[in-house]
């Protein structure tokens, strides 16, 4: 009987050393406790998941692009000001499209989006010295020159939507109204850069800044 217990102990130790402890790093696909052959169609149902693979479509993707020259219901973008940054005459829009209300919440939203998507290159201050400059993105311009201060909002919108030279498009990351919010925040940065002590009107803020 003692031998049986010894053999059991040995087998346990051997198995434990094969299976290892919880949390060890491994690269082969995880084991299925309820395998697919025993419970077919539960874990992997015949449905397509976002960014998943498909054996049906020729390019192997589950995500489809709408066919050319079609518009999904409710997705018609017929407001050229809002969606293209162009006015009726076909020039770049000056100011913001009438449909948007530029208020504090709008600019705050713009600040958040700017910090995520633009600051890595254009820097939090908009001076073009974001962290990527150190790694070789030398062409990033500063916003604080007259060319960009006077540039029509519509043209900046177009740069965000379609990119320009080495800056690629951000249309997949920012919805149209978010792009306008980012522009509003860019304008706030440009204004702040030219700020003078006399511009600060809030007495409490004057005190913290040490302005007499």
């Amino acid at each position: 009987m003692r031998n049986v217990y010894l053999i059991t102990l040995f087998v346990c130790v051997a198995l434990a050393s094969i299976f290892g402890l919880r949390g060890t790093t491994f690269t082969r696909p995880p084991m299925d406790v309820f395998p697919e052959w025993a419970f077919p169609g539960m874990k992997y149902q015949p449905k397509l998941r976002p960014q998943g693979a498909s054996t049906f479509f020729a390019d192997g993707r589950a995500d489809r692009v709408p066919p050319a020259h079609t518009v999904a219901r409710g997705m018609l973008r017929d407001d050229d000001q809002l969606y293209l940054g162009k006015d009726d005459a076909g020039g770049w829009v000056k100011g913001f499209p009438a449909k948007l209300s530029v208020d504090r919440a709008f600019i705050e939203h713009g600040r958040e989006r700017y910090t995520i998507y633009c600051a890595p290159c254009h820097s939090e201050l908009g001076d073009g010295n974001g962290i990527t400059k150190r790694y070789g993105m030398g062409a990033t311009p500063t916003y604080h020159d007259d060319r960009l201060r006077n540039m029509a909002e519509g043209e900046i919108y177009n740069t965000i939507t379609n990119g320009k030279n080495t800056m690629l498009s951000y249309a997949d990351k920012l919805a149209p109204d978010e792009r306008w919010a980012v522009i509003a925040y860019m304008r706030a940065l440009q204004r702040a850069h030219q700020g003078k002590p006399a511009d600060v009107s809030d007495p409490a803020a004057r005190q913290t800044l040490g302005i007499q």
């Binding site: 919880r22 406790v33 449905k47 790694y135 070789g136 997949d172 990351k173």
Partner: protein, 217 residues
């Protein structure tokens, strides 16, 4: 006629029973240890087609999770970034690096980069990123310290028990909304602000589903 069985054989049935009991105990212990997602999934770190390092891009370059996983706060699905997202920088930074060849190929030919899926809920369970992220649950609760990983590894079991544990008692795990994407931040309870967390849950009516149909819909 000699005795066929020695006297000690009288104890044998009992000994066999005891042994079977011990064996059952070992089997139960083994199954609870090895046949749960805590063992089968935690530590899964597949080899990716591009040795992309979160530690380098998040800590060194300082990118926000949303720069790449841009739909995480807007939709149920958190996207793996497009090749263009990488090319935003890598058309200028290390443009000829051999490590990035699959990304460049994908960008030029419009084919997918074959990233290997790490975290995956089964199709019979419903999960939604935006609702968690916008209601104070940080990525670190479910994905661990991705910002320190060179290769993404599965650090939490993401089993049903894991989900329910938080749904029953979210106040210990919620974060200040501005800390969600900062994986080094502490949750409200650990900051000693459990009171704030309770107030937040009350004011914002945070009610994670505990009934089966909440997740198995």
């Amino acid at each position: 006629m000699s005795k066929l069985f020695p006297k000690s054989a009288n104890k044998l049935p009992l000994q066999i029973l005891i042994y079977l009991g011990v064996l059952a105990g070992i089997a139960t212990a083994g199954a609870t240890y090895y046949l749960t997602p805590k063992y089968t999934r935690v530590g899964y770190a597949p080899v990716q087609p591009v040795p992309f390092s979160h530690a380098q891009h998040v800590q060194e370059v300082g990118l926000d999770c949303r720069y790449c996983h841009s739909s995480v706060d807007k939709s149920g699905h958190s996207n793996v970034p497009t090749a263009q997202t990488c090319m935003n920088c890598h058309n200028v930074i290390k443009p000829t690096s051999p490590l990035l060849a699959p990304v460049r190929e994908s960008f030029e030919k419009n084919t997918p980069v074959p990233w290997v899926w790490v975290h995956r809920t089964p199709d019979f369970a419903y999960f939604n990123h935006a609702i968690h992220v916008n209601r104070g649950v940080s990525c670190v609760e479910c994905h661990g310290k991705v910002n320190e990983m060179d290769t993404v590894a599965h650090t939490q079991p993401l089993s049903m028990a894991f989900c329910i544990e938080c749904h029953r008692n979210p106040e210990m795990r919620l974060r200040d909304p501005k800390d969600i994407f900062n994986l080094d931040s502490k949750n409200l309870a650990d900051q000693g602000r459990a009171e704030d967390a309770r107030k937040y849950i009350h004011d914002w009516k945070v009610m994670p589903p505990q009934s089966c149909s909440g997740c198995h819909r």
